[in-house]
Symmetry: C2
Subunit: 275 residues, 2 copies
């Protein structure tokens, strides 16, 4: 049987992946969840038909969403991940020895459960004693915790449906309150090529809340366009100019200290978008 996944994120153009095996497919309380084994990217998590993460290219996303804010903050101890049920961000966060507690607040417990089972390379640190898992609404969690986290990572699905409330001004104000006085926020913020208006709105919403707001790019093959944006909002430290010389080194596949700075230099059309 020649079985292919056709991804439905962008209209009139689609990535397709040849499937070896469907490892799990179920309707959870929140979404259509599948973990597929593919020929080109190995096992992948697919939510509502959209590829979230794959064994072969997850390192780009998880390294960049974690190490940029954690190396920008001088001494991050408490980190909150909103979403991120696959555990990839948690795995990267716990590489930083200063971290005392990393809270994962994922609305869909089934994502955690199935990723623990089928994506052990990504979910490997979800049982780490420094990781605390909370299954519930990220918006509610952030609202109920004030002045608590040094870094907040919004590792969500796209801003349509379930995750819509995780993008935009009112949530960013709550995040600001949830951060400590020198805290840093980061979110994945979509493709500037296909969804320029989303990138622009989200950036401006963050900019209205945070004294320092920067956007950077990373090359992620399984995300539409292959060139993905992340937005950083910071109360104090500038991720682009921070001194990284005294930071520890550990093995990475994408992140480097030099790239930490360079990734904020944007192509003209993206620069114009957030001007």
């Amino acid at each position: 049987m020649d079985m292919w996944l056709k991804e439905g994120q962008i209209s009139d153009a689609a990535m397709t992946y040849k499937i070896k095996e469907t490892l799990v497919r179920k309707q959870t309380e929140y979404q259509d969840l599948a973990i597929l084994d593919t020929y080109a990217f190995g096992r992948m998590l697919v939510l509502d038909g959209i590829v979230q993460t794959t064994i072969k290219d997850e390192f780009v996303y998880h390294e960049m969403i974690s190490h940029i804010p954690l190396f920008t903050h001088p001494n991050p101890k408490k980190v909150l991940v909103v979403g991120g049920g696959d555990g990839g961000a948690i795995r990267e966060i716990l590489k930083h020895p200063s971290i005392e507690k990393a809270v994962l607040c994922e609305i869909d417990g089934s994502v955690i459960e199935e990723c623990k089972k089928y994506l052990p390379e990504i979910s490997s640190e979800l049982n780490n004693p420094r990781c605390e898992i909370f299954v519930g609404d990220g918006i509610k969690y952030v609202h109920e915790h004030k002045n608590e986290f040094d870094v907040i990572i919004v590792d969500s699905t796209d801003p349509f449906g379930a995750a819509e409330g995780l993008f935009g001004g009112s949530f960013y104000k709550e995040i600001y309150e949830c951060l400590t006085e020198d805290g840093i926020f980061i979110a994945q913020t979509e493709t500037p090529f296909y969804l320029p208006e989303v990138v622009k709105k989200v950036f401006n919403d963050a900019k209205a809340v945070f004294p320092v707001t920067k956007l950077f790019m990373a090359g992620i093959p399984t995300y539409p366009g292959g060139y993905w944006s992340f937005t950083v909002g910071s109360k104090k430290y500038d991720p682009e100019t921070v001194d990284l010389s005294n930071k520890i080194d550990f093995e990475t596949k994408y992140y480097t200290k030099k790239l930490h700075k360079a990734c904020f230099t944007l192509p003209k059309y993206i620069e114009n978008l957030i001007k």
Copy 2:
């Protein structure tokens, strides 16, 4: 009719594009040539089933393959484009007022002819008096011209089939001879994610010939992986450290002077590939 192009470049994963209209489809002396009008990317040139350039994202490729070498050279007067029959590189090259002659050496005259007809936004400068068109073999042309060009741009299809001879050491030696004493060479050199061995080989082949060899990346949505490599070989000037402060400014959509430097800072896995 719901008609889609499925691109065959990468096995087991494929980009697909919904087609509005097939403007031209023919077997030329060298390849299967099509110009399709698509919903997501507008008109696109497809050779042997592989998307070469599209109205919507061509600016990234054509700006980066042209302006990086042309702004690195202090006074480029004569440029050779090997391949590039769509005319996009010629259009960008002729934005540099120092250019006296830009030679396009394209093996397949049908590409030039059909792009003039159906992709006028890209081919617009092919009739410019500073552009000289030569329909013929690039390898032969380069062999027959010594010490002549300040910049040589290899704007070819992929290193399989017709364009295979345009990648690799023996051709790069000929290019070296064809360049003036401070000349610069650039080529599109594929995707480090899907084809790491190709990127590695091509880079090392160039490095064996040129005193300065550098690789940079750009985000191109319609190329596999969306994050594409270019290799620069230079006899004298380093594109990453060259002083750009006195260079003229003109309107671009991707290239900026700051990005000219930053694009050479590579993700770790690409850095490792060419170490």
